[in-house]
């Protein structure tokens, strides 16, 4: 053989030899019995309970550590590390009685001193995730071995819920020795009091939790839980279909759900769990800008919106229409009389005619009080679904004679413009599941402009003295029923204001397999990723 050819052949052979280990590669370890494989898209970058915020991080931290209480969507606050709690002193302090059997993973018992330490730690080290509550937190004191009292500067029903369910309780004997807690990743064998410990972990790939089986309260039946980090959603779905994963912990594209619903044979044993979410997508008006300060105009626009068409086109049907009270029906404080308002283009047009916005020159666009054609610029995000939604909105609003158009922006640019109050209208979303948000999104004080920036989240500048009074009262109302009444009044006021016009509420869609584990339970917002599921899950056997 000629030399050059020979060298080519040799080169190809060498490459081929290199591929032998390729073929002989491990085909993927056999799945351990009783191991729950969950797919996630967010990496676990650090396990510092007070710094980690990604969804995977909070998942792991939630299993390794305990909080004082838990939150159930039906019952509200339920026992956690604490068996019982009592609100005292007009709401400025709460006393928790801890479960005497609680232990740290290294065997030492959990005492009130650990709780006292944790809260004072938060205050002293000023962890940014809790900055919102630090201002109101006066301190924590251990009364006896299993009783601890937490005190606030001013009463707040939500503050109690927050400190009881958000901060994990840390072991004093470990964390008091750490120099720089804000920069401590806590990735090596974190010691908590929760049902699981971290068994194995590879950066950016997976993390495995082991059920220690000796928790005082949890009824977790699964032996181990592995979170597989997937960078690409498509690959995750394919892995689920192959059986490598038991469930995916993110809300999938409606197109995927539609495909699986249409073609169940192509996805054996794969099920779609559908849960309502608690957030509402809205069109937010800037009430500081004419003519959008005219409530009749806003009402007309809201009547032009066809929520059903939006849900069909953008969410492929996986969503629900929302009423102008902006609270979802699954929330306890939902105002039943504020259901979704059906679209009525004729009525919208009549309102506009009556308010003086008429199309004098017959070009299809109405003119405003100054004779100029009415234009509405809608700011929106730049993801494909946002663009799709904006295109439809513009189409619908044009039907009533207003020249609407949209401007896509990155999330940061959009927020920038909102904070600068530089917009006509913007696609936004609100979630009033935590009732305090109704204060932060609509109280006058949160819409004030300081140095060119809006003080809070009331970007559109809604201002109503009656609403403010109700909101102020709601914040400090400790009686549940009274607070719910106030919240319902507030919703009624918001409904009349047409400040945030509801577009829809999307469903949370999660995929899971039903062949290895049974007991998947669906709840609003969390879908299958909730404590009830994990209490109910049983291993059915099989590979």
């Amino acid at each position: 053989m000629e030399k050059p050819f020979r060298s080519v052949v040799i080169a190809i052979l060498c490459v081929g030899l290199l591929m032998v280990p390729v073929g002989a590669g491990v085909a993927g370890a056999a799945k351990a019995a009783g191991n729950l494989n969950l797919g996630v898209v967010a990496d676990v970058k650090n396990l510092n309970p007070y710094m980690g915020y990604g969804s995977s991080e909070t998942f792991v931290i939630g299993w390794v550590y305990d909080t004082l209480l838990g939150w159930d969507s039906n019952e509200g606050l339920v026992p956690g590390l604490a068996d019982s709690w009592e609100i005292k002193d007009g709401g400025t302090s709460v006393e928790f009685k801890l479960n005497p059997n609680a232990k740290w993973h290294d065997g030492k018992p959990v005492t009130a001193e650990d709780v006292e330490f944790s809260f004072n730690f938060i205050r002293e080290k000023r962890f940014p995730s809790f900055m919102a509550i630090i201002g109101n937190l006066a301190g924590a004191k251990a009364i006896d071995k299993h009783t601890v009292r937490v005190t606030f500067r001013s009463p707040s029903s939500n503050a109690v819920r927050f400190i009881a369910t958000a901060p994990s309780i840390l072991p004093k004997h470990i964390w008091s020795k750490i120099d720089d807690p804000r920069n401590y990743p806590n990735l090596d064998n974190p010691i908590g009091s929760g049902p699981c410990a971290v068994a194995e972990r590879r950066d950016g790939q997976f993390i495995t939790l082991k059920n220690l089986g000796n928790h005082y309260r949890s009824s977790l039946n699964v032996e181990t839980i592995t979170l597989r980090v997937l960078r690409d959603e498509t690959m995750g779905i394919m892995a689920l279909r192959r059986g490598d994963l038991d469930a995916l912990l993110w809300s999938v594209d409606p197109a995927v759900a539609e495909e699986i619903d249409r073609n169940p044979k192509g996805y054996p044993n794969v099920k779609v769990a559908m849960a309502p979410s608690t957030s509402v997508r809205t069109l937010m008006f800037n009430l500081r800008r004419a003519p959008w300060n005219d409530v009749a105009l806003r009402k007309a626009v809201s009547l032009a919106i066809n929520q059903k068409e939006l849900i069909d086109q953008v969410l492929l049907g996986y969503g629900s229409e929302q009423g102008p009270g902006l609270v979802v029906p699954s929330d306890l404080h939902y105002n039943k009389s504020l259901g979704p308002v059906p679209r009525d283009v004729a009525k919208a047009k009549a309102i506009l005619d009556q308010a003086g916005y008429v199309d004098k020159n017959r070009d299809g666009i109405r003119e405003d009080k100054n004779g100029k054609p009415m234009k509405l610029e809608i700011l929106t995000g730049n993801l494909p679904t946002s663009i799709n939604l904006a295109e439809l909105l513009v189409y619908q609003i044009k039907q009533i004679g207003i020249d609407a158009y949209f401007t896509p922006l990155t999330a940061e640019s959009l927020r920038n413009k909102e904070q600068a109050a530089d917009f006509d209208a913007a696609v936004s979303s609100v979630s009033f599941s935590v009732p305090d948000m109704m204060f932060y999104y609509a109280h006058t004080s949160r819409g004030v402009i300081n140095e060119g920036r809006v003080a809070g989240f009331n970007y559109g500048g809604y201002s109503s003295p009656e609403y403010d009074k109700l909101a102020d009262a709601m914040l400090v109302e400790m009686n549940d029923q009274a607070r719910i009444k106030l919240l319902r009044d507030m919703q009624a006021r918001l409904a009349e204001a047409y400040y945030h016009v509801p577009l829809f509420s999307s469903n949370v869609l999660m995929l899971y397999r039903d062949d290895r584990f049974a007991g998947w339970t669906v709840e609003p917002d969390s879908c299958i990723n909730n404590s009830t599921t994990y209490s109910n899950l049983v291993y059915k056997g099989g590979k």
Partner: protein, 312 residues
């Protein structure tokens, strides 16, 4: 001009290049008349995720828009971005390269140092930052590509100018007292113009691939229909899961054919404009030239003519 066109046509690769390039340009201009649907019109959407069939020869996408129509309209963005950037990069690069090469001294040092920095700064993160800051409308993309791409052209032109500076006709011109501006325009520019034209065409091809790559990563113009964006939608719309090959193959083929046509055109132009260069070394020269102008794509590390990414 006539003569060049004639020679190009007779050149085998030239003919292919002209035909393809002309075809794509005609398709782009005539889009509203030849496309069966208007992808920007909400009222013209069909059923979602249809495979190729009657009514939709290439199927529909996740929102029901006709793929064939998107393909036709997509030519517009690719061509506008590619050609405009090619022109701008060449013009800017030529200007600065000639200034640097002919004037020398401070101008030279300044311009060359800026080139050095542009070569060293990693392109993709820079592009993402600029896209965040300036927005991703397609004219911004043109600006960003131009800003990052002129350095390669400038360097190449400068070395040409340096060798030209000492040639007879330039020296003669100077001895008669011609002003630098005049010399740069009449003599230098004229001498390097074949190189510029070829470079411009090949740059356009490189930019088309780079724009596709940028759109694919999600940083393209969100409202425009472009081939790169179609691939982005394919990836994020789970084409691989649904086996929707009709989302993946047509846009890629379109990019390939257009770039192929431009490159054929560019190669043929090179050989026609400089007939005394032997054919084989034309390739190696072009390879070196392409590697420099394609600094745009290489900066981004997102694929360029020349194949592959970092290697090759």
């Amino acid at each position: 001009m006539r003569e060049i066109a004639g020679r190009l046509w007779r050149h085998p690769r030239g003919r292919v290049g002209i035909m393809i390039t002309a075809a794509v340009i005609i398709i782009a201009i005539a889009a509203p008349w030849i496309a069966p649907y208007d992808p920007y019109d909400i009222g013209q959407r069909g059923p979602r995720r249809l495979p190729p069939g009657p009514g939709h020869p290439l199927g529909t996408d996740a929102q029901g828009k006709d793929i064939l129509s998107k393909l036709i309209y997509g030519a517009r963005v690719s061509l506008i971005v590619g050609i405009t950037t090619g022109v701008c990069v060449t013009v800017l690069g030529a200007l600065l390269g000639i200034l640097a090469g002919y004037l020398g001294g401070l101008a030279d040092t300044l311009i060359m140092r800026i080139c050095d920095i542009l070569f060293v700064v990693p392109g993709l993160p820079l592009m993402i930052l600029l896209a965040n800051y300036m927005g991703t409308k397609f004219y911004m993309i043109i600006v960003i590509f131009t800003m990052l791409g002129w350095a390669g052209v400038a360097r190449m032109i400068r070395s040409q100018v340096l060798s030209l500076k000492s040639r007879d006709f330039v020296l003669a011109s100077r001895s008669v007292g011609a002003r630098p501006g005049h010399i740069m325009r009449e003599h230098i520019l004229v001498s390097v113009s074949p190189l510029l034209i070829v470079n411009g065409v090949l740059s356009a091809a490189g930019v088309m691939v780079a724009e596709a790559g940028l759109s694919f990563l999600g940083f393209g113009d969100p409202t425009a229909v472009s081939w790169g964006k179609m691939l982005y939608e394919a990836q994020s719309g789970h084409a691989l899961l649904f086996g929707a090959w009709w989302w993946v193959i047509p846009p890629g083929l379109a990019i390939f054919i257009t770039v192929f046509g431009f490159m054929m055109f560019g190669y043929a132009l090179e050989e026609v404009l400089n007939p005394h260069i032997p054919r084989q070394s034309a390739y190696s020269k072009l390879r070196k030239g392409m590697a420099r102008y394609a600094g745009i794509g290489k900066q981004a590390g997102i694929g360029r003519p020349g194949g592959g990414e970092s290697v090759g």
